[in-house]
Symmetry: C2
Subunit: 287 residues, 2 copies
């Protein structure tokens, strides 16, 4: 039996993971703050106090998505240290289980341009969040050979914090309000949260080790994304690109080389950007 322990099951990405795990035949144990899910052994707990769950559940697979991700705050919050410490303790409790932990594209050197490749692109995290994730990956790779690291790019989807771009545009346009934006020329790699979860689960269910980019592989400008959201919400004229100043030192291009994810893990996103944005706007319509 494949028994998965999932952390962050109440989170933005993690909420989509149980379905993906069940579809691949995993017995699913989830740790989270939210409400129990059908078909899942639900451990309602604060992970910081519950690392011993690994000894009790004895998973064959561990998918660790939980982290502190409060909008804006997470980049340099000391909460990163608490999550790093707890995650390191989890590494000590694996007992041979295969582990996939969530990393971030913020491990890469954002002052460079071009597609990011897991082994040939330079790593130079510039935030405590990125440094903590980088430190965790280095430690995980030294603890066990059966360790993979999903380096997540830019997820969007239902339930995203309301201050972020997609919710801001979706809610503004749905309410008929103009939405001032910056110029939006920076290029990112966006992936729907359900596809991000699917990619993590596919990685967990593979024997691929080391860092694997989790992205769509598609280069989309911030402005294009805003316009796609506005289109799905019914009115592109309300998006006012260039009305807000650009932030200093925004990196130009952060896009994943997804060769490993596609060819080694065998995962491809199920949703196009248009479909994913439509799904997200539909969710906001119902809030």
């Amino acid at each position: 039996v494949k028994r998965a322990l999932l952390t962050g099951a109440s989170g933005f990405i993690g909420a989509h993971a149980p379905a993906a795990l069940l579809a691949r035949g995993f017995e699913v144990h989830a740790v989270g703050r939210g409400e129990p899910l059908l078909g899942v052994h639900w451990h309602r707990a604060d992970l910081h106090d519950s690392v011993d769950l690994l000894a009790r559940v004895q998973p064959t697979h561990v998918l660790h998505l939980a982290w502190f991700v409060d909008h804006g705050l997470f980049w340099n919050s000391l909460e990163n240290l608490r999550w790093l410490a707890t995650s390191v303790r989890m590494l000590g409790e694996l007992r041979g289980a295969r582990a996939v932990f969530a990393g971030t594209c913020a491990e890469y050197d954002w002052s460079e341009s071009g597609r990011r490749h897991e082994s040939s692109s330079r790593l130079a995290p510039a935030t405590l969040y990125g440094v903590s994730k980088d430190a965790l990956r280095r430690t995980g790779e030294a603890v066990t050979r059966d360790f993979a690291w999903g380096r997540l790019f830019f997820p969007y989807g239902p339930g995203e914090p309301a201050q972020r771009l997609v919710p801001t545009v979706a809610r503004g346009v749905l309410a008929g309000r103009p939405v001032p934006c910056s110029s939006g020329t920076q290029v990112r790699d966006y992936i729907h949260a359900a596809d991000a979860a699917g990619a993590f689960v596919a990685l967990l269910d593979s024997d691929v080790t080391g860092a694997v980019n989790i992205g769509s592989g598609e280069a989309v400008s911030v402005g294009e994304l805003a316009m796609a959201v506005a289109r799905a919400a019914g009115d592109t004229s309300l998006v006012r690109l260039g009305e807000l100043p650009d932030r200093a030192a925004e990196p130009e291009e952060i896009v994943a080389d997804v060769t490993r994810l596609r060819d080694e893990v065998g995962f491809a996103p199920t949703l196009t950007l248009t479909e994913g944005v439509a799904d997200t706007v539909a969710w906001w319509r119902e809030q």
Copy 2:
């Protein structure tokens, strides 16, 4: 007032730190398992359960030497993860205190030769111990600017675990037994534990940041060290170099460039190898 919180005060290096701290005018709070010391605020505690000591003591300076160092076991023990987690939690409790944490020459790439320089030598820890220390340093440097990292080379001195080279030779020769050794051609940087503690404390009392090698800067072969110990114990003829096979993949040369320690921190060892070895053998004579 300069108030230092010292961890590992019962340890091999740490035992020498209180005197060095007191000599530099620090009010000293120490955490350790051993017996209280005169002139020191002694907190007898397991550090893993006592990270909140930082909030209670409110040190201006933190010297963190504690780690799992059981002879032979520490290189790849999962205890490294527990110490990494606890140390990361300490980073979250500094509240602006200056911090010096203990690193290791095992962060360097041991497959290379030549003197190790803090910024120009390649880092490539090959053990969980080295990786955990490396991860801690990266995290510490991202948390606070007032952070220094003492990269300790090869300490020896009173109280060293009995299975290690210096105690083995000292006890053997003092007992009149022959001591079979390997060829002993590998070159290391040895520093007396009291000088190592003195260097850490000097670093703590300076405003130097980043990694600083803690060594003597002297290249001494393992065989030379064994002979020096035997000489201090009264009979060099009992040391049988080459009677034991050399371990595979022993690195040839691990010696510190001590420019930063000497010129920036302003520290020089107080003991020559001959003096340090004499002190150590005298200690074994009394056991």
